[in-house]
Structures are given as structure tokens and as C-alpha cells.
């Protein structure tokens, strides 16, 4: 079993915000957004909005969802499921683990 990729310290990601991890680090098709909700939880989704080219890491994270910075489509942090137009496709979630204040990413593993 994979031990994951250490991609950030928890303190690098302010609550309500996100950071993007480049695809050459994650080995995935898209960059991955690490998104931290106000309950302290950290989630990972494919970074590019499924509607137009926008980084979800620049989005608004709150209450279990991230809102795209361009046209406000919302995605579930846990499942990546799209909640409303203009996006119609869900995005891909990835598993995250926090160990000793460090964020480990498991690309392409279900959360």
C-alpha cells in the first residue's frame, strides 16, 4: 500500500482556502487542489473546474463545498460531485491524510 506523497504542511493551507499541487508531483492528468474547510478537514480534487479553465484551489471553500472562482459552480469536497450549473460534470476526488501536521496525498485513491 502506498504511503502517499507529502505535498504540504497543514499550516500552508489557510482554512477556507486551497493550494494547487502540480501534476508532475502528483503524477495525475490534472493538478490537484488541496482544499481546507473550516472544520479543519483537508480534501483533494482535480484542480481544473470541469466547466472552464479555472483553478478550484483559488475557489471559496466552506461547508463541505468549493465554489469555482469564475462562475461559482460548486463541487462536494468529499465526492467531487457537481452541485449546480454552469458545470455539468463532477470532478475527481483523491484521498488525503494528515500525519503530524503534514498533508499526504494519495492520487487516484478514493477518499
Amino acid at each position: 500500500m502506498s504511503t502517499g506523497i507529502r505535498v504540504a504542511s497543514l499550516e500552508d493551507i489557510p482554512e477556507g482556502e486551497g493550494i494547487a499541487v502540480a501534476k508532475d508531483v502528483t503524477g495525475t492528468a490534472d493538478d490537484i487542489a488541496l482544499l481546507r474547510d473550516y472544520d479543519g478537514s483537508v480534501w483533494a480534487l482535480d484542480d481544473t473546474c470541469t466547466h472552464e479553465t479555472a483553478s478550484l484551489a483559488d475557489g471559496w471553500v466552506e461547508g463541505g463545498y468549493v465554489e469555482c472562482p469564475l462562475h461559482s459552480s460548486k463541487f462536494c469536497l468529499k465526492s467531487g460531485e457537481v452541485q449546480g450549473l454552469p458545470a455539468t460534470k463532477s470532478t475527481c476526488p483523491h484521498r488525503v491524510e494528515i500525519r503530524d501536521g503534514e498533508v499526504y496525498l494519495f492520487p487516484n485513491e478514493a477518499p
Binding site: P14, G16, Y38, E52, W60, L70, S72, L85, P86, T88
Partner: protein, 400 residues
Amino acid sequence: MRRAVVVRRIVVVGGGIAGVGTVAALRAGGFDGDLTLVDAGEFPYDRPPLSKDFLKGDKDIKDIALQPQQWYDDQAVRLASLTTVTALRPDVGGVELSDGTTLPADRVVLATGGHAARPPIPGVASPLVHVLRTAEDADRLRSALTLGARVLVVGAGLIGAEVASTALDLGCDVVLVDPVHPPLAHAVGADVATWLHDLHTRWGIRTVHAGLESLVDRGAEVEAPGIGVFDVVVLGVGMAPDTALARAAGLDVDRGVLVDERQVTSTPAVLAVGDSARLRDGTRTEHWEAAQHDGQRAAATILGLPAPTTTAPWFWTDRHNLHVEVVGDMAAADVTVIRGSFDTPPFAVFGLRDGRVVGAVAVDDSTAVRAARRMIDRTLAVDPGRLADTAVDLRKLLRG
């Protein structure tokens, strides 16, 4: 005594964002009866890209579908495409379709949108004069926006400014005329409006502050007296709501199909949403998200569910590679606070009244407008100094 009517069959007329939003909200709200969406096109598509990526040719009609075909199957929505409703028959409980059939309906939701306005001036019927409302309009216009084409855009509001910006990107020689200066001041405040309008000049568009009195059709070109001679003229002077069905059925119509705050028209079995609906004693709104909210309210009304919570109105527009968002009501502000600098976007301007944010406009600053929206919705008292300080995280300001 009011008798309970079991609603089993709903027809939604018009496949714009309001119509599609209505059927989505009906299913999300638990409606499991027959649901038909009647649309004149091949399938419902999104209109905002028509003046941007779609006009530019970066997206095709499939790219801007509001929902993939599979969605209609998954949601058990019968999509009656390439079809129009020719008459509402609330008396017999149905609608008549262009194919000659009558579709029974316990409730009808009108989401008929509108058509681009053409001012009644001489020369406006020239084939070189375009409007932009549908994908077909955009296709026609795109084929005219060739490299070096001399283009006159009439009206520097949202659509006009977007078309001017796109035409410039396509290599056209663009002139933008509007009788109002600065355009959009009512929506974004005079300072931002002036800054936005001046962007056109900085990018190489000639702006003209004048009213267009007439056009002269010279066959292969059109003259706008006092302005110039053009290969293409695009009218971006607003839209007129499509109310013919409602009017013919005897519904109350006055600059829109009149509805109450639950989207119900003067005929209880008929509701209206989106650009074609007007709240009695209110104004018509023509924005994308507002149309969806209308659909959600109409669905809640039909299903007897509580009305969805309201939120400050929001819209976006794009020009010259900048993303502009507006939330709330800038016209209601008595004080404005600038966050950042107009010289170096991102920046945002907040409108305050009695110490509370009532509106905001942001250029490339998504966080500012999302924070502002929440401040407006929560009627939060804010410190203008902190709002202006780019070192202060607006998310933290929101959390106290």
C-alpha cells in the same frame, strides 16, 4: 374552498437557463410526474458564451450544452426539441405544440426568454446589421467578423462590450458607440464604469459617445452618419421579453409576464420565470443566476415546498481578458471603499450604506465578490478601513 390539485404533468416552455433550472429544481424537489421541456432548438444551450468563447470559435454548440443529453434521460425529462408552443390552453389544461398536438399539463411554466431589440431607426433592416441572442445569431456574426472587418458595435453595456472585445480579438477594426457615458454606471458605480469603458480605448477600440440616429445601407457596407462606414453593425441595445403566448392566453402582461413573488402569473396554473417574467411592481432581471433562482422558486411553489432562501443578485462579464463580477446593488450605496488599485487588477470596490455592504464589483478578484455576497446576505456591519486593507483576509473579516 380551495381544492387540492394533484400535479402530475408539468410542461416547461423554453430551454434557456430558466427552463432547464426549473426542470432540475422540480426533480431535485421530488417531483416524479410527467415533465416535458419544450425547446425550439436542437437542445438547450448556455447563452453567456455566445458573446465570448462561442463567438470567437473556441467552443462549439455541443461545448455549451446546458446539460448533456444523458441528463434528460437520467432525470426522466422529455425534451421536446425543435418544437414551439403555439398556444396555452389553461381552460383545457394543456398547451398546443407546433407539431399540431396538444400536451396535457396541470401546470405550465413559461420560460420563453426574449429577443434582441432592434431600435426603429432607418437602415436597421440591412443584412449587415446583426443582433446577438441565439447560437444562430452568433454563427452568422462570427462569419462576418473577419480579419480587418470594420465593425460598429451599438451599445456599450454587457453584451456590446463583450462583442467589441471578442471582435477585437478576432482582428476586427472596432468602433463602440453609446449615448450614455459611462455605460453601466448604474450597475457598477461611475468610477468602475469609467475605468471599464476606458479599457476599450486602451486596447485599440474607438469609443464614440453619441446616439445612433440612422444607418445608411450602401449594399456591401453600412454608413453610420457622423461615425463611419462599416462592414458589420452589431446591435447590443437590450432585449424584449417574449410574452406573446401569455398575452394570447389572456395573462396579465406589462413589460414582461407579470408574476407574484412565487412566480405565479395571473392564471394560477401558469407560472413564469427568467427574462420574460416581471415581478408585479418590480423590475425584470436578465441575469443568468437570477433566472435559475426563478426556476427554483417556481418549482418550490408547484411542489408546495418552502421558498428557497434569497441571496444578493450576482452576475459576471468578461472583456479584454478581465473577469468582472458584480454582486448586490451598487446603486444603493452611499459610500464606496476601494480595495486594491485600479492600475493593477485584481481590485474590488465595495458599496456601503449605513456601515453595511450593499454591493460590490470586482475585477479578477473572485474572493472579494464572494465575501461581499456573504456580507450582504448576513447584513454584517464592517469596518471600511479593514475592507480596504488588502492585508486583511476578507474570509476572516466575515468570520468576525
